[in-house]
């Protein structure tokens, strides 16, 4: 059983992991059995992180109930947490940067050096909510990974054949500084923990296949208030500076992915904390696809170039592209390779979520029209039909929806629609589906016509119920009801939606 350890650094790391979890929920093909995510950040109150954490926790519950050996693809890939933890929390007690570097105990000469290297604002920076886009601070503070318990758990858990992937942004504070530091530690031989004991399996980790994605600017922040160091006018300059440093990573990473977007969205300025929660963006979905590309067994020859001593001889550089440029992307704008990967899984999972009643509606919240995801009783086909349809008879009855795994499943379905809605609201919109549609047969935007009923007599949701009634006899009777339910919907949606290029 091979594993992929993913280190997601900062807010971008958390958001890409969120997108990856959505793709895995939908059953996108993954070349490893298990994903082990670790989010590295100082600012663990960040809402992007907590949102990703809740999603992954729900995913783990649902994954436990699906049949690992069956044909079901939804939630098939296992996600496992190291010691039950997702966060590698940097736990020094210092709040301000000058405290962290111990300025009060420095000699006069060292103080003078510090004054030359860092501005007064930088020295007084409150780091509890991150580094406010300053990788020069992050590179000092983050140099403490190896003391962390979760890092030890990572070392203990690592086996031959496992892979490593690092997600970071290049224009922020935590990601830009964290990525090269982390990569350096992973390749440092004989690393010891805080007690001086050698970390287990470190030799394997040094030589493990390693990939990374560096996310270039794809959003800007609105004008910061006085006193804030976050300023998107500096993003491009910071990107250039970081890219020039990253030349040093050549032949240290097997495959290096880059992605960005010139069509940027504008986010509200927040330094971090519970207010920092950016909407999902297509760039994050594409970044998640980079992870799946890295572990794709068909791409071993192009992703990995090693010599007889297992040293990297060449780094493969990859960028993500779309077929046709447009501010509003549907499946039609994607390349054949991307379509083959995501059209079927996303469409099938969307149909499943719609059957359970989840769609986008407009509500007035605080006097403002807001788009929101709700379970609409009149669109909740399962609730309306399970009393009458043979597929549900004595299996999926009144109490079924209250079981923990099904509640988590529905929570993920709601979050999935929300994730799609957020991507639709960006300047670079990703709108593969009509999220307002209450029909089963016309919710895919663009030219693709991929829903195929086998009989013209069954229209709309009757088409789905007919297929559910047909497929239930093919699901394994030995499965628990929740597992059987998910497998059933996977079979049905595969029959109805089968896009081929």
């Amino acid at each position: 059983m091979s594993k992929l350890y993913i280190f997601g650094i900062g807010g971008t790391g958390a958001r890409v992991l969120r997108s990856l979890t959505m793709l895995l929920s939908a059953g996108v093909e993954c070349g490893v059995d298990t994903i082990v995510p670790v989010i590295i950040d100082r600012d663990i109150s960040n809402k992007d992180l907590s949102r990703t954490k809740l999603l992954i926790e729900d995913y783990i519950v649902v994954n436990r109930c699906v049949d690992a050996n069956g044909t079901n693809k939804f939630f098939k890939t296992k996600i496992s947490l190291l010691g039950g933890n997702l966060f590698l929390q940097l736990s020094d007690n210092a709040q301000q940067f000058d405290e962290f570097i111990g300025r009060s105990t420095m000699s006069q000469e060292n103080n003078a050096l510090i004054d030359m290297l860092f501005s007064k604002e930088t020295l007084k920076l409150n780091m509890t909510k991150g580094f406010e886009g300053n990788p020069n601070i992050g590179s000092v503070v983050l140099n403490q990974f190896d003391n962390n318990d979760i890092f030890k758990a990572f070392a203990n858990d690592f086996h031959d054949g496992d892979k490593i992937f690092i997600i970071s942004s290049i224009f922020g504070g935590t990601g830009a500084s964290g990525f090269p530091l982390l990569r350096k530690i992973l390749h440092t031989p004989n690393v010891n923990d805080a007690e001086g004991n050698p970390l287990a399996n470190w030799g394997l980790i040094n030589k493990a296949p390693i990939g990374a994605i560096s996310v270039l600017p794809y959003f800007i922040v609105e004008s910061p208030p006085k006193g804030s160091l976050v300023n998107s006018d500096t993003f491009i300059d910071k990107t250039k500076a970081a890219l020039s440093y990253y030349k040093n990573e050549d032949k240290k990473i097997d495959t290096f992915y880059y992605i960005g977007d010139t069509l940027t969205s504008s986010y509200e300025h927040h330094k971090g904390g519970t207010e920092q929660m950016n909407n999902a963006h297509f760039v994050e979905l594409a970044s998640a696809l980079a992870i799946l590309d890295f572990v794709n067994s068909d791409k071993q020859n192009e992703n990995f170039h090693r010599d007889a001593h297992n040293n990297i001889t060449k780094t493969t550089y990859k960028e993500f592209g779309i077929k046709t440029n447009s501010p509003k992307l549907t499946f039609d704008n994607l390349t054949d390779e991307t379509r083959n990967l995501i059209v079927n899984p996303l469409s099938r999972f969307m149909l499943f979520a719609k059957y359970m009643g989840y769609r986008v509606v407009t509500e007035i919240i605080n006097g403002k029209e807001t788009l929101i995801v709700r379970k609409i009783p009149s669109n909740d086909i399962f609730e309306k039909e399970h009393k009458y349809q043979p597929y549900a008879h004595k299996l999926f009855t009144e109490d079924f929806r209250r079981t923990n795994s099904i509640q988590k499943l529905e929570s993920i379905q709601a979050k999935f629609v929300e994730w799609l809605l957020e991507m639709e609201l960006q300047n670079r919109k990703f709108t593969p589906f009509n999220l307002f549609s209450d029909r089963a047969d016309d919710f895919i935007n663009g030219e693709l016509k991929i829903i195929k009923p086998d009989n013209f007599m069954y229209k709309n949701w009757a088409m789905v119920d007919n297929e559910l009634n047909k497929q239930i006899v093919k699901t394994h009777k030995s499965l628990q009801n929740d597992s059987r339910f998910i497998e059933l919907f996977n079979r049905v949606t595969e029959k109805l939606i089968n896009y081929k290029n």
Binding site: P390, M457, A462
Partner: protein, 163 residues
């Protein structure tokens, strides 16, 4: 086999009258025997056949209204039962009224006469024919219910209709 249908109909003989029943059994006034055509058998076979046809259509024909996820409620089943029943009701009524009006029913079953051959009373009326139609509706419903519970189990969309 031919007697079974007659016996089923005669459970409801009180509805349509003994004399009409005798006619349908095939009683011949001239020979005073049951050597006429057993119309219970003919009508019963048609009733059974139609019930079977509609049951099979409801559970297996892929057509809107039949074997469809939106018409598998108990009331959809009931509507098909009623439609089948009404058709058989019409067959029952029209067959017997036709025979009544065409004089096909033997005189000894139709009238009582005095010594001079004058009609003292009529024994079979149109209302008896209508009641035979009602009886055919009931028998059709019975066939429909029994056939439903025997044949529905392989139906994709309706196998738990009506229960």
């Amino acid at each position: 086999m031919s007697k079974i249908f007659g016996e089923i109909y005669c459970w409801f003989e009180s509805l349509f009258g003994q004399n009409l029943a005798e006619y349908l059994w095939g009683y011949n006034c001239e020979t005073q025997g049951y050597d006429g055509k057993n119309l219970f058998y003919a009508i019963g076979l048609i009733t059974f056949g139609l019930s079977l046809l509609f049951v099979l259509a409801y559970y297996y024909l892929p057509l809107w209204g039949f074997n469809h996820p939106r018409t598998n409620r108990w009331w959809n089943w009931l509507i098909i039962l009623i439609i089948t029943g009404v058709i058989n009701f019409i067959i029952g009524v029209s067959w017997t009224i036709n025979d009544l009006l065409n004089g096909n029913i033997g005189d000894c079953l139709m009238y009582t006469r005095d010594a001079d051959g004058n009609v003292v009373s009529q024994l079979i009326f149109k209302s008896d024919c209508w009641m035979f139609g009602v009886t055919n509706f009931i028998v059709s419903a019975l066939f429909f219910i029994i056939l439903s519970f025997i044949l529905k189990w392989k139906s994709r969309n309706c196998k738990y209709s009506p229960i």
